[in-house]
């Protein structure tokens, strides 16, 4: 499944123009990362694609197509979309295991099969033995891993990820990046991955889209010509990685600068 955005603009009725004239194509099975300064509309963009914006709150212009159809025209189950939220969004009153099974329960999958799939996914996420814990009883990294496999559980063909590793420490973050790479390489699905971490974007994605500061517009798009399978650790030391990081940082820096007060002139 693919995602196509044509001249998309989003304005909140409260007064903020979040996005302006965003045109972007994510092909079937493609891994695209979006970077941009805080508040430039990255989360809003994902919400619009997933049809989660409240029409009473904002106005959307332009065209959004997911698998060729506009938001709201196909049932969500048919669309089979995955969304990993900026905060983990696990149900606090359900155990880790029940949370992982949530999408399958909604799809009325047979309980036995649900349990089996959950067990396999929890093992993959290194959460074996924590299946009966409640979210508040496990660490932030474990919650985020649970949220990731909860999305994988029902095998969505498009996955939107909103800074899924943003709240993690550097080690956990790299481990999860490797895990995500491994999963995607094993069975490519369309992924739109929002992050404010440029290195993360380069390590993971085939293309990196740089958004300008608010109102967010596509400032530049970079092809990341690093071959897969990639190694999230080894890659960071390579010359090609350094070159890409420098180039993209040039574009990104101005956008970040403009959102911060100029230092030194006191």
């Amino acid at each position: 499944m693919s995602i196509a955005l044509e001249h998309v603009g989003i304005r909140f009725r409260a007064g903020v123009e979040a996005l302006r004239d965003v045109t972007l194509d994510v092909g079937r099975g493609e891994f695209v990362a979006v970077v941009g300064p805080s508040g430039c509309g990255k989360s809003t963009l994902l919400s619009a694609i997933a049809n989660l914006l409240d029409p009473a709150e904002c106005e959307v212009v332009g065209r959004i197509l997911v698998d060729g159809s506009a938001p709201g025209t196909k049932s969500r189950r048919e669309l089979n979309l995955g969304y990993v939220f900026q905060r983990d969004a696990l149900l606090p009153w359900q155990t880790i295991d029940q949370n992982v099974q949530l999408g399958l329960a909604i799809r009325d999958v047979d309980p036995r099969e649900r349990r089996e799939r959950s067990r396999a996914l929890l093992e993959m996420a290194g959460l074996t033995g924590f299946d009966r814990y409640y979210p508040h009883q496990v660490s932030g990294g474990m919650r985020q891993r649970a949220a990731l496999v909860r999305t994988l559980a029902y095998d969505p063909q498009v996955i939107l990820m909103d800074e899924p590793f943003g709240a993690l420490d550097a080690q956990n973050r790299m481990l999860l990046q490797s895990e995500l790479l491994r999963i995607w390489q094993a069975s490519p699905r369309t992924i739109l991955f929002v992050t404010h971490d440029l290195a993360e974007a380069i390590v993971l994605a085939q293309r990196v889209v740089v958004l300008s500061r608010r109102p967010g517009a596509v400032k530049a798009v970079y092809d990341i010509a690093l071959p897969y399978p990639r190694d999230a650790f080894a890659l960071r030391g390579s010359a090609e990685f350094g070159r890409l990081e420098t180039t993209i940082w040039q574009a990104l820096r101005d956008e970040f600068r403009a959102t911060l007060p100029e230092p030194g002139v006191a």
């Binding site: 919400s47 997933a50 989660l52 049932s75 969500r76 189950r77 669309l79 089979n80 979309l81 995955g82 969304y83 939220f85 905060r87 969004a89 149900l91 606090p92 009153w93 359900q94 155990t95 949530l102 999408g103 909604i106 799809r107 409640y134 979210p135 508040h136 029902y154």
Partner: protein, 262 residues
């Protein structure tokens, strides 16, 4: 474990000390120290001695069961009614906008003030006490449920929606669990409200019940019995609240314990 035991011990010691002091200033322990008239403050040991005749007459059991039934039926009906209306209005915005001022005015009315009008409607039997008990509980549960529906975490709603969940799934996985926490948060308050409703209803007019017996004893200046019944009511309320606390801790064990302690 050690800490909880030592705390329990110290708490028990405090209660014993309070009773000992009370016994002392009402002329107890053969020391003849009487600070107030026995018509105002009965000696705890003589109040407790009243328990024998009260129980032997068969009235204790009758009063206890009357009040318990009134309070419990009122509590259960109040929770069911309050939760049902809270859910309905939480979902149905139009209706809630319309009806909210009515409910807010009714709620701001001191609830037990309606007791005198319930009596001519429902008579001296338990129905009028159940109604008063229901009325006091209903609003607490209603407002908590209503707020519970309204304050559901939007992120959780979105997570279930994205996965393809419909309204039923949202209710089952997000709204109801969230509302339950609000109802249980109100459970302890509801229990003591239910008891208050029943006892006050009995004050106004009844033929049995702890409140009725208390009122008669007070009229006869039977201070010992008054204090005995107050003690019984206290034990009764503490037991119910303790049960409510256990139920709450069991059903809300998914919550961080810091919240439970509060």
């Amino acid at each position: 474990m050690n800490r909880t035991w030592s705390l329990a011990l110290r708490r028990a010691a405090l209660i014993v000390a309070i009773f000992a002091l009370w016994e002392l200033v009402t002329g107890g322990f053969g020391l003849g120290l009487v600070l107030t008239s026995p018509a105002i403050l009965a000696r705890p040991s003589s109040a407790l001695a009243e328990l024998g005749p009260y129980a032997a007459s068969g009235l204790l059991w009758r009063d206890l069961s009357t009040t318990l039934i009134e309070a419990m039926v009122g509590l259960v009906l109040g929770i069911i009614g309050g939760a049902a209306l809270g859910l309905a209005l939480g979902y149905w915005r139009r209706a809630s906008e319309l009806i909210e001022p009515v409910l807010v005015s009714l709620n701001s009315l001191p609830r037990i003030a309606v007791a005198p009008i319930l009596l001519p409607w429902l008579g001296l039997g338990i129905a009028s006490k159940i109604a008063l008990s229901f009325f006091t509980v209903f609003f607490v549960v209603f407002f908590n449920t209503y707020l519970g529906v309204r304050s559901v975490e939007p992120e959780l709603v979105k997570a279930v929606q994205v996965m393809g969940g419909d309204r039923m799934h949202l209710a089952r996985f997000v709204v109801l669990p969230s509302v339950f926490t609000w109802i249980f948060a109100a459970l302890r308050t509801s229990v003591s409200f239910a008891l208050t409703g029943a006892v006050v209803g009995e004050f106004v007019g009844a033929s049995s019940g702890l409140g009725y017996r208390l009122n008669i004893a007070a009229g006869l200046l039977d201070t010992k019995r008054v204090y005995l019944i107050l003690l019984i009511l206290m034990v009764f309320a503490v037991t119910l609240v303790e049960i409510a606390k256990r139920v709450e801790a069991r059903l809300l064990r998914w919550r961080p314990s810091a919240v439970l302690a509060g």
